[in-house]
Subunit: 290 residues, 2 copies
Amino acid sequence: MAKLHQVSVIGMGLLGASITLAVSRISPKILTVGFAHRALTRKKARQLEVAGEVVGDLKSCVRDADLVILATPIRLFECLFLEIKKYAKSGVIITDVGSTKRFAHKWADGTLGKSNLYVGSHPIAGSEKQGVEYARDDLFDRARCIVTKTRTTSPPALELVSDFWRSLGCIVEIMSPAQHDRIFCNVSHLPHATAASLVNATHAAELRLCGKGFIDTSRVASGPENIWADIFLTNRQNTIYGIDRLIRELKRFQSAVKNQDRKKLERFLLAARKKRARMIEQKMKNKELL
Amino acid sequence: MAKLHQVSVIGMGLLGASITLAVSRISPKILTVGFAHRALTRKKARQLEVAGEVVGDLKSCVRDADLVILATPIRLFECLFLEIKKYAKSGVIITDVGSTKRFAHKWADGTLGKSNLYVGSHPIAGSEKQGVEYARDDLFDRARCIVTKTRTTSPPALELVSDFWRSLGCIVEIMSPAQHDRIFCNVSHLPHATAASLVNATHAAELRLCGKGFIDTSRVASGPENIWADIFLTNRQNTIYGIDRLIRELKRFQSAVKNQDRKKLERFLLAARKKRARMIEQKMKNKELL
């Protein structure tokens, strides 16, 4: 962190603005610069003082940065890498906060060249709330952050990015982009596809009678569709496999009900209950849950 | 309620014991009698003073009751109706708190005779917590309670049971058992099957990395497997149709991802988000959510 004089964040949504806020709190000597495309976002970001400087042109955002962090929808990354290459100084380290990582690495290698200083990041923080007004300087406290590297990733860049997240309070874990995308498809993207499908499979008029169970099971379906479309489209094969796996389980369950096989049904439900109990127990032990 | 001198509840779990507690709070003149099969449950129920009397034999539980409420797993209802017929006085009104209603009505008609005074009830209250120790005298405050009737249901019995739940704070809604089972399959049983399938479709080792999204989407999968097996086995056809409908939605979603059809994907996600937003809005307006 001592090496950083300026951290620039592209995108002043909940995540981006929380990064600049957290950096300012923890390392007030570092200049934070936030880029926002929309004038209204810039106005709000300035009023809320989420960054040292809030700018509307990319060049002045990245020109003097030591570290540039992409916090926009994933589909913009490829263009942004090109712009950064044009305007940033040599030696700039680049990362992002996108929820999928294989495409980000592919685009970085394609646009920035083989000796680029890009490292992938995925802080597991945020909420279904969107926008700079929900930014918090403690969003990353005790949050997990996956940092991704390939065989060509620069070791010093990897170290700097990992240290950066740790300084913000994250528990950093390093893995390959392929492993990241497979795991997070299962624990995050698949639940989202499931929740949205469940809502769409239910008659609107009947939802009046739903209880807490439906509300919780469907909560993630309230996330922004453009962000999530990006996630699914950059994690296609895993999503396709995951849905196949889920459908297989649903059919196993359905056949136990069809055949009135109480033993099989209870075994299925017990397996899920036990697996979930172990997961919750582990998270309690790690103090990941309140 | 003025007509009731004794209310007997069979089963001292969370729901059963919350009923006796609520009756004692609201109408202290009514004698509440709770039946529990297990000695340990009776001991706890007496220590916690959840009912006026706690008994271990069914005869003394139902003999002098004006209203008997079944609060056991659904699969025991048929046997319990036979026992109640043997021991209860004529004119006794019977209801239950089971999550499916068609079988309960069928069993009541079959065992108690055509002119029986059975009325179905399904208070939408409770939690994934089980046991008399979680009983609360305000569990039914502002809870919805579905009361079910068929063409043969006695109007005075229907009125008494409806008034009973209203006096406990419930918002009562009357419908047929078939309509009840169809709707609650969609808004409650299907989410449960989905949550359990999602957990079973996910590798245990990967769950370490899951976030709040997975935790909420899977919460109901922590419910007791014996209770839920009863629910699915007494609501088979609706469950089978519901899973077919969910699988169709999952496949629609999957094909949009396969074909990289961003428009279709965003429309799918937007439809779910909007439908859920309307549901939440309606519940906020009705003060059903905090």
